[in-house]
């Protein structure tokens, strides 16, 4: 049970995981509604499934090399599982067809962790680094940032 909970917590720990309608407790799994809406070709500009998967891998590379937050992710373990769940989340959030997110909601997963805004922003910085790593243009990266940003309310509890 404990490891299963850890699995859920770890999977949802990716602070940039996509969300449906942030601010509500509905399960993550729909395209994020933003004002204005994010580009419909954002997923394609990220390189589709292949590119998006590489991006999440690059994100975790930066997270695990970021001493401000790597220990938090490491303590929860099962990094491979976290990566896989986040690949699902990001794809769903950008509107990829035929993908389903199988992890827990952001607020449920982060409830007991006392995440600070500084730690959340560290992941935002790592996300931008991952975009640069993969030569994804800044404007395209911002579509993903826009979709992820509302999760701040669910994840940051301090």
């Amino acid at each position: 049970m404990k490891s299963f909970n850890r699995l859920l917590a770890g999977g949802a720990l990716c602070l940039l995981s996509i969300s449906t309608f942030a601010g509500s407790e509905t399960p993550e799994g729909k395209v994020q509604a933003t004002y204005p809406p994010i580009s419909s070709d954002a997923y394609e500009k990220f390189g589709g499934k292949y590119g998006m998967d590489r991006w999440v891998e690059s994100l975790f590379k930066y997270i695990m090399l970021d001493n401000r937050i790597n220990y938090i992710f490491a303590e929860h373990g099962k990094i491979d599982r976290q990566i896989k769940l986040n690949q699902q989340l990001v794809a769903v959030m950008l509107g990829a067809p035929g993908v389903e997110y199988q992890g827990a909601s952001m607020s449920a997963a982060h409830a007991e962790m006392g995440i600070t805004l500084t730690q959340f922003n560290a992941v935002v910085e790592d996300a931008y680094l991952a975009c640069e790593d993969l030569r994804t243009p800044y404007h395209t990266c911002n579509q993903l940032i826009a979709a992820l940003a509302p999760f701040k309310r669910s994840i940051v509890t301090r």
């Binding site: 933003t34 204005p36 805004l117 500084t118 800044y138 979709a147 940003a149 509302p150 301090r158």
Partner: protein
């Protein structure tokens, strides 16, 4: 003039001491309150009035890189080079828990040759006892202290991308202009006054765009550099200001700002000799023309009247901002400040450097 340079040096000393104090607080021993967790560039820069914002407009963002967990701040130096003036602004701002901000700026405006015309006029009125016009023989410099405070009231400029709600802040300035005699010459009503503003800021990530609208309640002339109010009274009004910043990269922004100004001393002359309002010359010329006595005397008075008539334009600038790290940022801008007191077409370069902790 010596006094103004010494004053500037003294104030820089105070700002640097403040900076050193904050820097000392940022050592590991004090790591409890020092915080630099904000995303790069998201607290804007320090404006010439000292508060956090764009170049000339205060925004709803709170100064410094701190989040709700700590305290941070920044110091800035800005230099603008216009045909008849240069503006130096040196200041510091501190943000408390991304909620409350205090700022201080010292603006120094050497006026170069601008008021030499008036100086010449006052000197040629021989035999008349002239009170101090506040105009030095060379390079009159205008000095102003600006104390600012800002409170973030509600909203979130960055993270609420699923909502249209912006971040809103209420703020104010108390400005003290030190050139009392010159302000009287320029027909301002007061040399010290407050301003209040409400600022509304939001970042739209899908468009890479930051939008800010500020409404300022003020009676300032040229942000207070030429005093407050006009010959009649100190009438405050609401003036809109807009900033747009387009993010080219996570550390580069380009944009434009517009700030409405007032017309307190528009169309007025200057109070030469303390009592003579040169706009009176206009009516004299008119009268002369009406009775058919024009010619050289009339033209002379007319020309003098035009030269010595003040106007004030709205301000407009386009800028390029670069944030290499959280500790350092630069802004280069082209400013079109239009008419400033007696001189038209004040357009020129603006450069600002800012250091954060």
């Amino acid at each position: 003039m010596n006094g103004t340079i010494r004053g500037f040096g003294c104030k820089s000393g105070i700002v640097l001491a403040f900076a050193a104090g904050i820097f000392a607080c940022s050592s590991p021993a004090q790591a409890g309150i020092y915080d630099a967790g904000k995303v790069l560039a998201t607290s804007g820069v320090n404006i010439t009035d000292g508060a956090a914002g764009g170049g000339i407009t205060p925004w709803a963002v709170i100064a410094g890189y701190e989040t709700n967990q700590g305290i941070n701040g920044s110091i800035h130096y800005t230099y603008a080079n216009l045909p008849n003036y240069s503006l130096n602004s040196l200041g510091a701002s501190v943000g408390f828990y991304d909620r409350f901000e205090l700022s201080y700026a010292y603006d120094l405006l050497p006026t170069g040759s601008t008021f030499n015309t008036v100086g010449l006029l006052t000197n040629t009125l021989a035999g008349v006892v002239i009170p101090d016009s506040g105009i030095d023989p060379f390079n009159t410099s205008i000095r102003m202290d600006i104390f600012g405070a800002k409170l973030r009231v509600f909203g979130e400029s960055i993270y609420d991308s699923d909502s249209l709600l912006p971040q809103v802040a209420l703020g104010g300035f108390y400005k003290i202009n030190h050139n009392e005699e010159l302000m009287k010459t320029l027909l301002a009503n007061k040399t010290k006054d407050f301003e209040a503003y409400v600022a509304i800021t939001k970042i739209f990530f899908p468009l890479d765009l930051l939008v800010n609208v500020t409404v300022r309640y003020t009676a300032a002339n040229q942000t207070g550099l030429t005093g407050f109010g006009g010959p009649n009274k100190n009438k405050r009004e609401f003036r809109p200001e807009v900033s747009l910043a387009y993010l080219l990269a996570k550390n580069i922004a380009i944009g434009a700002e517009y700030a409405a100004h007032g017309k307190n001393t528009d169309g007025r002359g200057v109070a030469v000799g303390g009592n003579i309002d040169t706009s009176v010359l206009g009516s004299i010329t008119g009268a002369l023309n009406n009775i058919g006595v024009a010619g050289p005397v009339g033209s002379l008075a007319n020309n003098l009247n035009d030269t010595l008539t003040q106007r004030e334009s709205d301000w407009f600038d386009v800028f390029f901002a670069y944030f290499p790290t959280k500790n350092l940022s630069f802004v280069a801008a082209y400013a079109n400040l239009g008419n400033i007191t007696l001189t038209p077409k004040q357009t020129g370069a603006y450069f600002s450097v800012q250091a954060s902790f």
